[in-house]
């Protein structure tokens, strides 16, 4: 189980990466993260929605109401152009971070 302290700075990047493929909603994103990481990382509900709030405030994502499924009206999120730019910056940042950290990992 991964420590939430370590991953905190990259929750936004994970969500943006999934939204790059297609617009999605809360549960689907948390399920995708769980499946992609084979259950090694499970994003908490509150972490997910903090990230949505933050990303939307920074205009990296936009929300809209999707079509109803199982009688539920869901809030979907889609990535914006500045969200894509931000995602690319975070990817570059991670590459450097990874390079630096690997020098200390035996």
């Amino acid at each position: 189980m991964i420590s939430s302290d370590i991953i905190r700075g990259y929750n936004d990047t994970m969500i943006l990466s999934l939204l790059l493929k297609e617009p999605s909603y809360g549960y689907e994103i948390s399920k995708d993260i769980k499946e992609l990481t084979a259950g090694q990382y499970i994003m908490k509900e509150t972490t997910l929605y903090s990230a949505f709030t933050r990303l939307e405030k920074n205009q990296y994502i936009e929300s809209f109401y999707g079509t109803e499924t199982n009688g539920k009206r869901r809030t979907y999120y889609k990535i914006t152009d500045s969200g894509k730019t931000f995602y690319n910056e975070k990817c570059e940042e991670w590459k450097v971070t990874k390079e630096v950290m690997e020098k200390f990992i035996s």
Partner: protein, 334 residues
């Protein structure tokens, strides 16, 4: 499912109910329900499913911090509650007494105008130095009018000051609006917001008229002075100037009080909870500075008779005080 619903309800219990919160809660609930259904479908027991869903919920404070409502719970303890009926009474009282105080301030400005006008009519130029009027002019009727003008001055001034004191004391019970953190009910907030936006145009109009009166008032002084008798014309002009300024000040005070009431109730601009500390400093200094200015103004004017120039103290202190408040606000914000 009832357990998850109750769990979520308890998490949101202390929070303001607004559109954003309802939507957030609904989204969270939908996700939790999806997760629960899937766990059940995967063959987990009801208890297991609920346990997992709640364990994966996380820490609600993380989310509230992001929404900027982290300190909500602490503040509600000492916040002063204001409901719609109270808000209506406050607005009604403040509007009425704001006008009364405006009249009081205007009377104080009109008072020297009355003095100038009445003394001017008697051809006594040095109206400020009443010894001259009373002492050297015993045989003429001017001394009577000199006394009369002086008497009128004090009566009008006393009426003005009396009115301000009564108004100020009546409104004192609403001082909490500026000092305490308020918790205004949603319906009251909507009502106040409505009143405020309805008032905006009239407010702007009053301020603009007031400013125009202030700008035009010296022009009248010049026009009246150049038309008539150089001596009486001058004092009539000065009186007209003071009347115009008094009217302008009435507009500023009454409009300002009403607009301030809305801002206080909505806790906007200067009245944001975080700005209330700074207001305390500024108002403490104001409580000393303004009465002191009145004393200096009256002593200076009466002892030297230089009414023509002594008014300069008002804009000077006004600007200095404005600069002081600005400095305080910069420092406290840092």
């Amino acid at each position: 499912m009832e357990i998850i619903k109750n769990y979520l309800d308890s998490m949101f219990a202390n929070l303001p109910v607004n559109q954003e919160m309802i939507k957030l809660k609904e989204d969270l609930y939908n996700n939790m329900e999806d997760k629960y259904m899937e766990l059940k479908a995967d063959g987990h027991s009801e208890n297991e499913a609920i346990g997992t869903v709640i364990a994966n919920f996380g820490n609600i404070d993380e989310l509230f911090a992001e929404l900027g409502i982290g300190s909500q719970k602490k503040e509600t303890v000492k916040a002063r509650k204001v409901g719609q009926t109270e808000a209506e009474t406050i607005i009604k009282d403040k509007r009425f007494w704001g006008k009364i105080i405006g009249i009081g301030v205007s009377l104080c400005i009109i008072a020297p105008g009355v003095l100038v006008l009445l003394s001017g009519l008697t051809n006594n130029v040095s109206f400020g130095n009443f010894n001259l009027i009373v002492g050297n002019d015993i045989n003429s009727s001017g001394s009577d009018i000199g006394l009369l003008s002086l008497l009128s001055f004090f009566i009008v001034l006393a009426m003005g000051i009396g009115t301000i004191i009564v108004g100020g004391l009546t409104l004192e019970k609403y001082n909490f609006l500026q000092k305490e953190v308020l918790e205004v009910s949603t319906s009251a907030k909507n009502y106040i917001q409505q009143r405020k936006s309805n008032y905006q145009t009239r407010f702007t109009l009053h301020i603009v008229i007031g400013i125009m009166l202030c700008i035009l008032s010296p022009m009248f002084l010049i026009i009246v002075a150049s038309l008539g008798n150089p001596v009486t014309g001058g004092s009539t002009g000065a009186a007209v100037l003071l009347f115009m300024v008094a009217l302008a000040v009435y507009l500023f005070v009454s409009a300002g009080t009403e607009m301030d009431t809305y801002k206080q109730l909505l806790q906007e601009e200067d009245y944001k909870p975080e700005n209330k500390q700074e207001n305390k400093i500024v108002s403490a200094v104001a409580a000393v500075i303004w009465p002191l200015t009145v004393i200096v103004y009256l002593v200076w004017s009466f002892t030297t008779g230089s009414w023509a120039i002594s008014w300069i103290i008002w804009p000077v202190v006004g600007i200095a005080f404005g600069a002081f408040s600005a400095v305080v606000s910069i420092i406290t914000k840092e």
